[in-house]
Amino acid sequence: MNFLQKQLEDPVRFRLIKRGFYAGLVLVALAEIVLPLIFQGNESHFSFENFPAWGSVYGLISCVAIIVISKLIGKLWLMRREDYYDD
């Protein structure tokens, strides 16, 4: 049993990892809002980059948009049976 297995198969440790992940999310988003206020210095090229926690917000929007829109295009049009080209 390797190290990873120990972490993932023990429900207590797995819950800890999950909580750690959520805590990390909050930390990252807060860092994005707070740190630029403490350390002055703006290297934004566009005004939308100054939106609070821009990276986090756009990351989430991008991720959801990519999954939903791609799946939609795939189901409506692009996806075919695996043997589509076989006959």
Binding site: L4, F46, S56, I67, E82
Partner: protein
């Protein structure tokens, strides 16, 4: 006589033929020494023009050595070292010869200063890389290999046509910035050939079609050279072409969209090559000093982390025989080292701080920002989220974690792990010490990747992409399907074409064209022939028959005289003599 300059490509192309003569340990040593020698050769080069030969009154330049060609030659030869180490266990000389020839071709393209030598190495790459697919020796691989070859022959013909047109118009074969000929036919043909090799849609479907079918070790080579040598020639000839900005950004998203739908592990990674090359093409299009530096740096970093990713997926394929995500899962128990090394590649492609993608991709995105291109900036950032979503999360999740498939593999052979380890080290070294890479970029530009805003916003983007992934995990479950791409046109479209030919077209042929033929050609010809036949039978035949008949009649008359009786003959002879005597008496 001192040898001024040795072409590293020639070193590999010629050197490859030694391998089949060697065996065992010596052969494996030679397999590493050859690419290492090429790498050292490149590292020792100083800028200048070498290997100039005159051909048909044109100067062929085999050695244009400057900062741009040097950095590409470094990464190409470094990659060939890693690739050969990864392939050390493979007992198939043809594959090794093909792989080294392929790298040699890429180095030839890199150092080519004229179109003709560029074209020769371009075609050499197409043929040798097609072999890496064909040598898998399975029916789907052979079919995909032939499609790959046909597409690249088509691309090669576009290039040749463009070169010949350019030559006839300008009288020169020199390959340099093409901006002066912008919009011309030759400019367009050469650009199309370059874009085909860079896998820019709609000309790029050959890549996800062929790469997943190549041999485990061959695919690692293929990820590095064809698309990146195309990026190199685009930087050389087409920097600042506005069309490329939009094609590149669209391409970055296109690869991401297809990756959502993909079930084959290596095909998913192949779509991410297209996505990543999109950043480079976009950088070439923006064309500023920072942007071309970014395209170059990203090509360098990309070759190493993409090879690492393909090595990881290849190791899983080799050890478990599995290629579909829907059949994998739970492999983290049996292949933890492979997982760890793969994840380094995954972090590098996702541009996680301290990994190579972070210091290279951000140059292109920053160049879009400096150029005030908001839409491009947003498209590229969106594609970054998609990259992490698939290569950093979806693929490792379904391959190594997820639902336990009950499949278990072993770690791959040591040489494969060593190659992956070296690639991983390279990804981290570039990420931690970007100065090493930046010092060799073609343009002198100050760029600082590790700024507070850049690091925090990147981390935020990555973290919340991960959140989105886990929220929508159900949606992403891989389904066993294939996705339509522009290869449809020559895979299904061609079948439809042959149906069209056999159905309506053949009916048109026999019906309409056939009718016209009948009345315009066949009927008159038959009529004339009939006339001749009549002339033949009535005139010629009757003449012949007449001669025969008259001969017959004459001989019937003669027969009455020829009775076969000696007395009759004697009588006739006596009558004859009498007649002669009478004649003699009268004449006297």
């Amino acid at each position: 006589m001192t040898i001024e300059w040795v072409h590293p490509g020639l070193l590999l192309i010629a050197g490859a033929w030694i391998l089949p003569l060697l065996k065992g340990r010596i052969k494996r040593t030679a397999m590493v020494i050859l690419p290492v020698a090429a790498l050292v050769d490149c590292l020792l080069m100083t800028p200048g023009t070498y290997g100039v030969t005159n051909f048909l009154g044109q100067d062929l330049v085999f050695g244009r050595v400057d900062k741009l060609s040097l950095i590409f030659s470094y990464v190409f030869s470094l990659m060939s070292v890693l690739g050969m180490i990864y392939a050390l266990h493979v007992d198939d000389n043809s594959q090794h010869v093909a792989a080294l020839t392929y790298v040699g071709g890429a180095l030839g393209v890199t150092f080519a200063g004229d179109f003709l030598s560029l074209y020769i190495f371009w075609e050499l790459m197409a043929i040798s890389s097609a072999l890496l697919v064909l040598l898998r020796r399975e029916a789907p691989a052979v079919a995909a290999g032939f499609r790959y070859l046909l597409v690249h022959i088509f691309g090669g013909l576009l290039l040749l046509a463009g070169i010949l047109l350019h030559w006839s118009q300008t009288g020169s074969l020199a390959f340099g910035d093409m901006a002066a000929y912008s919009g011309g036919m030759a400019w367009g043909l050469i650009l199309a050939a370059f874009l085909l090799n860079a896998a820019v849609p709609p000309l790029g479907a050959w890549l996800p079609d062929a790469y997943p079918e190549a041999t485990v070790t061959g695919a690692v080579f293929m990820t590095a050279f064809t698309t990146k040598s195309a990026v190199y020639v685009l930087i050389r000839g087409y920097a600042g072409t506005e069309l490329l900005v939009w094609l590149g950004a669209a391409m970055a998203i296109y690869g991401v969209v297809y990756a959502v739908l993909e079930n084959d592990a290596r095909r998913l990674l192949a779509y991410h090559i297209i996505s990543q090359v999109g950043y480079m093409v976009c950088g070439v299009g923006i064309g500023t000093a920072l942007a071309t530096n970014g395209a170059t740096a990203h090509a360098f970093a990309h070759i190493l982390y993409k090879a690492l990713l393909f090595m990881g997926a290849g190791a899983v394929l080799q050890m478990t025989g599995l290629r579909k995500l829907s059949e994998m899962g739970g492999l983290y128990k049996s292949m933890p080292i492979t997982l760890g090394l793969y994840m380094i590649g995954g972090f590098a492609i996702s541009a996680v701080p301290l990994f190579s993608g972070f210091v290279s991709k951000s140059m292109v995105v920053a160049a879009a920002g400096e150029d005030h291109r908001a839409a491009i900036f947003l498209m590229l950032t969106l594609a970054s989220a998609g990259t992490f979503l698939h290569t950093g999360l979806k693929l490792p999740y379904y391959m190594f974690f997820g639902r336990d498939s009950g499949q278990s593999g072993k770690e791959p052979p040591a040489n494969m792990l060593v190659a992956m380890g070296l690639a991983a080290v390279a990804c981290i070294v570039i990420g931690v010490f970007p100065g090493i890479l930046y010092a060799h970029l073609p343009n002198p530009v100050e760029f600082v990747p590790y700024t507070l805003q850049h690091v925090t916003s990147t981390l935020g983007m990555l973290a919340f992409t991960a959140l989105g992934f886990f929220l929508l995990l159900k949606q992403l479950d891989p389904v066993p399907t294939v996705s339509l791409d522009t290869d449809w046109f020559y895979r299904r479209g061609a079948a439809w074409l042959s149906k069209l030919v056999r159905g309506p077209l053949s009916r048109l042929e026999y019906g309409f064209v056939g009718q016209i033929y009948e009345s315009v050609i066949r009927q008159p010809v038959l009529g004339v022939a009939n006339l001749f036949r009549k002339i033949d039978s009535f005139v010629v035949d009757s003449a012949l028959v007449g001669v025969g008949r008259s001969t017959q009649n004459f001989s019937r008359v003669l027969r009455t005289a020829v009775s076969g009786n000696a007395q009759h003959y004697g009588l006739i002879m006596a009558a004859g003599i009498l007649a002669m005597l009478l004649l003699a008496a009268f004449i006297k």
